[in-house]
């Protein structure tokens, strides 16, 4: 009986955990993105295996000046005075990714399956994936769904990936769709931009900025489901990886 309960519990934990995306406590997509950035930015000094600087072995996951991820962030962004380590300017998600990679260098599987090719991803975004029918990028496309022009500077690869495969779980509060009915029966739906106790601000389906006073409404509530489909089955894993690469390349102005 006890064994059954234990197995059931273990099964539930495994089923609930997005383990297929993660390695240890760092998300697989973040680690892979970190590996890519590390390859572009860090290998000149640290080498591909992280041990090219005398006395520094990044693979060991033990650092001279850092214990926590916050320490690592500090070293990367501020540099180390008196050494060859300069300060780097990374967007927050990039920093998260590099640290995720540093923590997992030793076990990292070089086979990159989660982050694909940005050019192919762009074609999928505009074409087969039909992302551009709702999302706007760099001044082009509708504003019904969130503008993604700088999504690569705002969200980690893991968060973007989860939004693509499980949008219901990942949608942010500010982007929830809402439905309101005025006292004279007019129905207003749109994407929430801001809300407080008495009012709500949204962009409606005609892309108008609308501000509503709740006391003037007959009905008001969140729309349970997002209009964003899951791409788990709509695109192949490789295609999702390509779209992710494209989205990560969008860093805004």
């Amino acid at each position: 009986m006890q064994l059954t309960r234990f197995l059931t519990l273990a099964l539930i934990l495994v089923a609930c955990s997005p383990a297929w995306l993660r390695a240890q406590s760092y998300a697989a997509a973040d680690i892979q993105y970190g590996a890519k950035l590390f390859g572009e930015q860090c290998t000149v000094c640290h080498g591909g295996s992280g041990d090219a600087v005398a006395g520094v072995d990044l693979r060991a996951n033990r650092f001279k000046r850092s214990t926590s991820d916050g320490d690592l962030r500090g070293v990367i962004t501020a540099g180390v005075e008196g050494t060859g380590m300069p300060p780097f300017k990374f967007e927050a998600p990039e920093l998260t990714a590099i640290i995720a990679y540093l923590r997992n260098m030793r076990t990292f599987d070089q086979k990159n399956t989660l982050i694909g090719d940005a050019a192919r991803g762009r074609a999928l975004f505009d074409g087969k994936g039909q992302c551009a029918t709702c999302h706007r990028v760099n001044g082009r496309g509708p504003r019904v769904a969130p503008d993604l022009s700088d999504i690569g500077a705002l969200r980690t690869p893991d968060a973007i990936l989860r939004a693509m495969v499980d949008p219901e779980a990942e949608i942010r509060h500010a982007n929830r769709s809402i439905r309101a009915v005025t006292r004279d029966g007019k129905v207003i739906t749109g994407r929430r931009m801001n809300e407080d106790t008495y009012t709500v601000q949204l962009i409606d389906e005609q892309e108008r900025l609308v501000s509503l006073v709740k006391s003037n409404l007959r009905e008001y509530g969140l729309v349970r489901r997002t209009g964003m489909p899951s791409y788990r089955d709509k695109l192949t894993t490789a295609e999702v990886a390509d779209v992710l690469a494209y989205l990560l390349s969008l860093k805004g102005l």
Binding site: R143, D147, M193, N194, Q206, S211, V213, G252
Partner: protein
């Protein structure tokens, strides 16, 4: 007919608050008076009138004004912006360079765009911003680090960014861009650090430069002969542009006030008139080509920046219909020019001054340099400054905030050598003999000035005679712009923290409220859900008033 259209527009807005509205087209910008519920360009209209055809708030009910909402800026910089209101949405900047979209009825924010300026910038005297321009669904903001940014008005995302000047070399921008047809026009500031100024137009769609007019001409260009030192003084000749210009669609000319020459106070090291410093220039809006210029203060040793808004009025002059320009200059004279030709028609002092005894037949000042140690009036911050004037077509009067009895002792000092990134004002300023402290650019936390050393006056000038019709004196100096309405109300703030409504005809006080902070911008008015509201920035907040 015009009034009918305006009423229709108002009714439509009131009845259909959620109805689809057209984008802000060049035609709408040129006919801003047809949609008085909106405020779609810096001065309210291309003429620079800062006058609204709205009259719901009037002399009888103004006492019933109450606070509707406040936008508190997350910034300790001076709140110098005039908001735009387009069909119920307000767009305003939070210093130095954030843009906020606000519901004009509730004051709640739709979105905020934060612009991170390059570090190490030198410009400007105050990290401020005077507001945005709009075309279509795109907003345009000029930044303190000399970039022009196009921003999606619906969601606050930047669309393009163009470098206008070199921020590390003190080029910067604080003005609200002026949108004309398919172009966005801005100008650079930084004369106190030895820039060479320019006005520049960009394609609104792409940010590509369309034309550029140097406010300090270079070798081979007309006006270069007015830099007579034979050296390279023109390269650091100043000529900042930091207040939004105006536009006459019929003449297709855009008018801009140009700032002081550099170095500010040592005029001897830049002999000549120093065009186009302290001038107003008329430029072809399509090409940027100079049509005419008029210089108010040649070889200026007093920092009499001509950065005021050129006010355009179609009127009659000595019985003949003319396209006129009214210009209340920082040097203390009120000018009337023919804006088609630049011809000088009249110039009269609107404050007591002693730097010139008058103007000759062509408007050139007959200067009276003061003996060493004696005060010159007005002082370096001028008889007026960037804060907008207003023109009310009903009363035919011109209104402005002015500093009276304000002088300082100027000493040109030794020639100053230009050094990149260093102050390039030259000279020395001193208090008039026996005078207590003079008011400066920024007000301190307490009242530190006294009778006899400058005070502010809101005044009405009859442009035909050039004489003062009335004046409303304040104890402190004032940096507030002026708004008038078709109900002949005049709204104005001040440094003392009061927001006032005056009778535009008589200057008498109708209503006031202590909003507790300096006003360094012009008030504006608009209509939302059928009700007229008045907005004024004071301290670090924007206050919006409406009738009870």
């Amino acid at each position: 007919m015009k009034t009918n259209r305006a009423i229709l527009a108002m009714l439509l807005t009131a009845a259909l608050p959620l109805a689809a509205r057209a984008q802000v087209t060049p035609t709408r910008l040129a006919r801003a008076a047809d949609e008085p519920h909106n405020w779609i360009t810096y001065s309210g209209n291309y003429n620079g009138h800062r006058h609204s055809p709205l009259k719901q708030i009037d002399a009888a009910n103004v006492k019933n004004l109450e606070l509707k909402w406040v936008f508190q800026a997350n910034s300790l910089q001076s709140f110098s912006a005039t908001p735009l209101v387009v069909d119920g949405i307000m767009y305003v900047t939070q210093a130095p360079n954030d843009v906020v979209a606000i519901d004009a009825v509730t004051g709640k924010v739709f979105w905020l765009y934060h612009y991170a300026a390059e570090p190490g910038r030198l410009c400007c005297r105050g990290q401020v911003n005077r507001g945005v321009g709009i075309l279509g669904d795109t907003l345009f903001m000029a930044t303190v680090d000399a970039h022009l940014v196009a921003i999606d008005a619906k969601n606050g995302k930047p669309i393009w960014k163009t470098k206008v000047g070199d921020a590390s070399n003190a080029y910067g921008m604080t003005l609200a861009p002026l949108v004309i047809k398919d172009k966005v026009i801005v100008g650079v500031a930084g004369a106190e650090f030895g820039i060479r100024g320019y006005i520049v137009a960009y394609e609104a769609a792409t940010g590509k430069e369309a034309w550029r007019f140097y406010t300090i001409p270079g070798p081979g260009e007309p006006g270069f002969e007015t830099w007579k030192d034979g050296g390279d003084s023109w390269k650091h000749g100043g000529g900042s542009v930091w207040t939004t210009g105006t536009y006459d669609p019929e003449l297709n000319l855009t008018y801009w006030g140009i700032g002081n020459p550099g170095p500010d106070f040592n005029a001897a090291q830049r002999p000549g008139d120093n065009l186009y410093s302290d001038s107003v220039v008329a430029l072809d809006a399509d090409t940027g080509k100079l049509k005419w210029h008029f210089q108010f203060t040649p070889n200026d040793p007093y920092d009499y920046d001509s950065t005021q808004v050129p006010v355009l009025v179609d009127g009659t002059w000595k019985g003949t219909p003319r396209k006129l320009m009214y210009f209340a200059n920082r040097n203390g004279f009120f000018y009337v020019l023919d804006r088609a030709t630049g011809e000088f028609l009249q110039g009269k002092p609107y404050v007591s001054l002693n730097w010139a005894r008058g103007l000759d037949a062509k408007g050139r000042p007959q200067t009276t340099p003061q003996p060493a140690g004696e005060a010159t009036y007005p002082g370096p911050l001028g008889a007026t400054n960037w804060y907008s004037p207003s023109y009310n077509p009903n009363t035919g009067l011109f209104y402005l905030s002015a500093w009276e009895n304000y002088g300082q002792v100027f000493d040109a000092g030794d020639p100053i050598e230009f050094r990149e990134g260093q102050n390039f004002t030259g000279g020395r300023l001193a208090l008039p003999p026996g005078a207590p402290a003079m008011p400066g650019m920024q007000r301190g936390p307490v009242n530190t000035w006294h009778e006899g050393n400058a005070h502010g006056t809101v005044m009405a000038i009859d442009p035909v005679t050039g004489t003062r019709k009335w004046g409303y004196p304040m104890h402190d100096v004032t940096t507030s712009g002026v708004l008038t309405t078709a109900s002949d109300l005049l709204f104005v703030g001040g440094r003392e923290g009061y927001f006032h409504a005056l009778d535009a005809e008589s200057g008498s006080l109708l209503w006031k409220l202590n909003v507790g902070g300096e006003t360094a911008a012009g008030p504006m008015t608009f209509m939302a859900e059928g009700k007229q509201l008045v907005a004024v920035a004071a301290g670090h907040s924007l206050y919006v008033f409406g009738l009870r």
